[in-house]
């Protein structure tokens, strides 16, 4: 094993920090966008009209059986065709992430809504509330209790997923480190650093989710 050079980490600090910012942006957009689209998909799946529920179920099933790398390639290739002019790889990756993660958030939200007993919404309807009021005031607050830890876990997975933008050459944290690793011939230092940083962030969120689940049993 060659001598471990910590200096390379200090020298490339700002480049790595910029990479981490992009990773954070991807997580933020994928989670907020994914939750919004996923909520819509979950409502569609719970609809009693088959014309509405079947397409949503099909979308979720297809998205969940494709590797994210392929989905990234699809949007990287499709977006310029659909819009008619070249779009950056960041735009296409953000859209791919939102639409991909939405399928996973949809299943979490659907399970959360499903965990609220039907009597609750029946009682809400009986008091004269409208359907969306029942959803907003009675079902969702209770569903949140079951969904909280699952959403935290999904955020960890999204954060890990963001490392895949490597394949469309976006400089996220991992890609930034790999650029320096090959430029300076310091793969050992860079990839060890990347692994430790991901480990610390992901493990603390996972443990927080476990703590949250134990404190508030559903």
């Amino acid at each position: 094993m060659s001598d471990f050079d910590w200096g390379v980490i200090a020298r490339s600090y700002s480049f790595l920090a910029e990479g981490m910012l992009l990773s954070a942006l991807l997580v933020l957009v994928a989670t907020v966008g994914g939750l919004i689209v996923g909520f819509g998909l979950a409502l569609m799946r719970l609809s009693t009209h088959r014309l509405i529920s079947v397409p949503a179920a099909g979308y979720v099933t297809v998205m969940r059986s494709l590797p994210l790398v392929l989905v990234l390639f699809w949007f990287y290739f499709l977006m310029p065709l659909a819009i008619g002019r070249p779009v950056g790889s960041l735009t296409s990756a953000l859209i791919a992430f939102v639409l991909f993660e939405a399928a996973f958030y949809c299943e979490i939200i659907r399970a959360g809504i499903g965990s609220v007993r039907k009597g609750q919404s029946d009682a809400g309807l009986a008091t004269g509330l409208r359907r969306w009021q029942v959803l907003r005031l009675i079902v969702m607050p209770q569903a949140m209790r079951a969904m909280g830890p699952l959403i935290l876990n999904q955020i960890v997975i999204v954060f890990q997923d963001t490392s895949l933008v490597y394949v469309v050459s976006l400089h996220d944290f991992l890609t930034a480190a790999s650029v320096i690793a090959s430029r300076d011939g310091r793969a050992t230092e860079m990839y060890s650093l990347v692994a430790v940083v991901y480990l610390m962030i992901c493990l603390s969120i996972t443990k927080a989710a476990e703590f949250y689940r134990r404190r508030r049993p559903s």
Partner: protein
């Protein structure tokens, strides 16, 4: 949107050849890493539910570490860093003499990651289904180790065939990561065809349908096992 459709790329040589070799490689990597994941998962899952504190701690650390580092980073660690960390003779052998180094590395890296996830399921299975049967097994005169080996472990494993289906599907999807170290599996080959022909629509559709069919087959296979000897069979036997 002006796009020149040409579905014939999917049956024209050499593109058809590329795509089908990609399908075979995706199947091979998925099945091999699934075998690694099951082996690791069962061993670590047993250690996680062992009476020894040390065994539980080591298994717990393995699960935490391997689940928290993104699989792509793990793949890079095994491929770029591991050969530098081991003694020179081993490192040289890994770099020069190991047959199909990219494929072997991908299989091990994906298997080790998925193994940590499988281990959690195995632990849950032993805890929820196997362990409650231990007192009865001990009462029949079995020794503790026999009771675990003959009763708690097999019944715990049979109970988790259903949940393992989604781990299998995750492993299949993970096989696509191997393209980053140069393995020409299904996703890489569809990208390859797109680069050569600009028929991305056709190539990616082929890959999409490929993954859907492989996923359906995997789900069907796991359901068959579940019905024959898994949790579904257990529920039928006790009903």
């Amino acid at each position: 949107m002006n796009y020149r459709w040409d579905w014939s790329v999917l049956i024209r040589e050499p593109f058809a050849d590329w795509l089908w070799s990609g399908v075979l490689l995706t199947l091979a990597i998925s099945l091999l890493s699934w075998a690694v994941a099951l082996t690791i998962g069962i061993v670590v899952g047993i250690a996680r539910s062992a009476p020894s504190r040390t065994a539980r701690l080591v298994a717990g650390i393995y699960i935490d570490v391997f689940r928290s580092v993104p699989p792509l980073v793990q793949l890079f660690l095994w491929y770029f860093v591991f050969p530098e960390m081991v003694p020179d003779s081993v490192g040289l052998w890994l770099k020069r003499d190991l047959p199909y180094p990219e494929i072997v590395t991908a299989v091990l890296a994906i298997g080790l990651f998925a193994g940590a996830r499988v281990a959690e399921q195995v632990r849950a299975g032993i805890e929820a289904v196997g362990a409650p049967l231990l007192p009865a097994a001990l009462a029949t005169g079995l020794r503790p180790l026999q009771a675990f080996r003959l009763i708690a472990l097999p019944l715990g494993l049979r109970a988790i065939v259903g949940p393992l289906t989604s781990e299998f599907l995750i492993t299949i999807k993970l096989s696509s990561l191997s393209l980053t170290i140069g393995v020409l599996e299904l996703t890489a080959q569809s990208r390859h065809v797109e680069n050569y022909t600009f028929q991305g629509f056709e190539a990616f559709t082929f890959a999409t349908i490929g993954y859907l069919v492989i996923g359906l087959c995997a789900t069907g296979l796991m359901r068959l096992i579940d019905n024959r000897l898994g949790g579904a069979a257990l529920r039928k036997a006790t009903a």
